[in-house]
Symmetry: D2
C-alpha cells in the first residue's frame, strides 16, 4: 500500500462532478460544502421524510451522508482515472439524530494506492447553532481503475 | 446479559406499528414482508432517486433498510414496554446495488436483556428473479425502557 | 471483483505451511483442525495467561484466533503466488470467554479477486462438551501478489 | 444515555489494579504508561512469539492492546462500583506491525451512563523513535453494575 499524499490538480472538480451524479444526495437535500485534499464536508437539513420511528433522522440517512463524505475524501486523493467504491464501513450512533441541520465530515486517515481508510463525524445543529457529535464512521474505500461501470 | 428467547404475544403488531412510523421506510418505498420472532424482512424496488454516482443503489440506502430489518428483528424479542435504539453497525458491500428489487433480512444472533446483536443480509433480484448477496450487516441494538422519547 | 470460487490443488498445504509460521498461534496454543476450500477451523484450550481482569479469555485472543481462521479461509481460495493481509475486522463479543476449550471457524462469504470477505464464529466448550457461541467476526482480507515481504 | 464527564477520585488506582489483573497484558509484555480521565496508553515491545506469518506483530495482539486501552479509557470514567465489558470493536490495520516497540492509545469519544464509545490508535516505533500509525479501533464498552463475575 504505497501512499498517495497529494491530490491531483482538478480534484475538486472531479469530486463535485461525481457528487452531482449521486441522485441520493439530491434526494436527501445534501450539499457539498467543503472539498479539500483528503477532507470533504456535506450538509443537510432535518427532513421528516427521512426519520425513524421516534422522529430522529434515520441512522441509514446519517450513514448515507457519512459514506459520501468519507468516499469523496478518499476520491479527492485518487488519480484522475480512478473510480471509488466503498468496501465496508462501521457507524457508531452516539446521540439521537435530532436537530435543525446536520454536518458530515469525512477525513482520510490512511491514503493507500488501492485501499484508502477514512474516518467521519456527524454533527447535529440546534436552533442556536450549537453542534453535537451524533455519529462517527470508519470506512474502507477502494480505488478502481479500468472498469467501465465504475467511473468517478 | 440474560437471554430473552421468546417474543411477547403481540410482537408482530408492535413491529408493524413502529415500522409504519418510520417515515424513511415509506420514502424509500420499503415494505415489511416478514415478521417472525427474531427475523424480519423488508423489500424495496430499485429507485433512481436513491443511487450513487455509478447508478447503483447507494450504500446508505442499503444500510438504512438493513438497519431497520436488524432493529426490528431485535425489537420483536423485546418486552412490550421497550423501545429499540441502534448503538452501532458495520456493513460490508459485497457487490454493486444493481437489480430490479432488493430484499433485506435481519436475524437476531444474540438476544440479550439490554444488548441484542443482529446480523443482516441484503439481496438484489434481477429481472429473472435471481438473487445475489450484495451486502451484510452486523448491528448492536439496545433495549430502552422508561424513556418518553424512545417508545417503540 | 471477479469471483474466485475454486481452491487451487495444494491449498491445504499452503494454509498449513503459513499457519505454522504464525508464531502467535503456537504461543496461544492454537491448532489448525479443519482446512477446506473457504472454511478453516482453529482450536485452543483455555489458558490463564491470556485472560482479562475477570478471568475470561481476553477479547484480543479471541480476535487473534478468529482473524487467523478468517484469514486462512480467504487464503485457501487465493492463487498460489498470493499472500494474505487483513485490512480490517469487527468482532462482537456475545458472551464471556469462559470454557475449557475454544473453537474458531472462518468462512468465506464473498470471494473476490482482490478483496475477500470472511465471517467467523467463536465457540466455548464446557466440561460436558456443550458449545456456546461467544463471538462473531466479519473481516475483510486482501490478496497481495508480487510483494516480497507478503508471501503466504 | 446521560453523560458522565468526570472521573471519580481514585480512577487511576482502579484502572491500574484492574490492568494488573489482566494476565494477557503481562503475557504480551504490555505496560500501562498513561492513565488520565478518558485517555489510557499502553506500550509493548516487539516480540517474535506474537507474530503472524510475515514476521509482523499479529493483528490480534494489536487488537488485544487496543481493546485494553479503549476499555480502560472507558473504565476511567465509570463509577467506582462498575465493571467494564467490551461489547464489540472494529480494527483497521493501516500498516504492517513492524517496529521495535508499540504504543496503543484509547480515548473516550462518547461517555454514556451504560454505553461508552472509545477510539484507539496504535503506533509502531522504529529504532530512531519515529512513530507510524499502524491501526485504529472503534470500540463499544458497557458499564456493568451488580454482577459478581464482572468486577473491575
Amino acid at each position: 500500500m504505497a501512499e498517495r499524499r497529494f491530490a491531483e490538480g482538478d480534484f475538486e472538480a472531479r469530486v463535485r462532478t461525481s457528487f452531482a451524479r449521486q441522485r441520493a444526495m439530491e434526494t436527501i437535500g445534501a450539499r457539498l460544502t467543503v472539498v479539500t485534499p483528503g477532507v470533504v464536508e456535506i450538509e443537510m437539513p432535518y427532513a421528516q421524510r427521512f426519520t425513524q420511528q421516534h422522529g430522529f433522522l434515520h441512522a441509514g440517512v446519517i450513514s448515507m451522508a457519512l459514506d459520501s463524505a468519507c468516499g469523496y475524501a478518499a476520491y479527492s486523493l485518487m488519480p484522475a482515472d480512478a473510480g471509488v467504491l466503498t468496501i465496508e464501513f462501521k457507524v457508531n450512533l452516539l446521540a439521537p439524530g435530532r436537530g435543525e441541520r446536520f454536518l458530515f465530515r469525512g477525513t482520510v486517515t490512511k491514503p493507500g494506492r488501492t485501499i484508502i481508510v477514512a474516518d467521519g463525524q456527524a454533527y447535529a445543529y440546534d436552533g442556536e447553532g450549537e453542534a453535537k457529535l451524533i455519529a462517527t464512521m470508519t470506512g474502507t474505500m477502494m480505488s478502481v481503475v479500468g472498469r467501465r461501470d465504475i467511473e468517478g
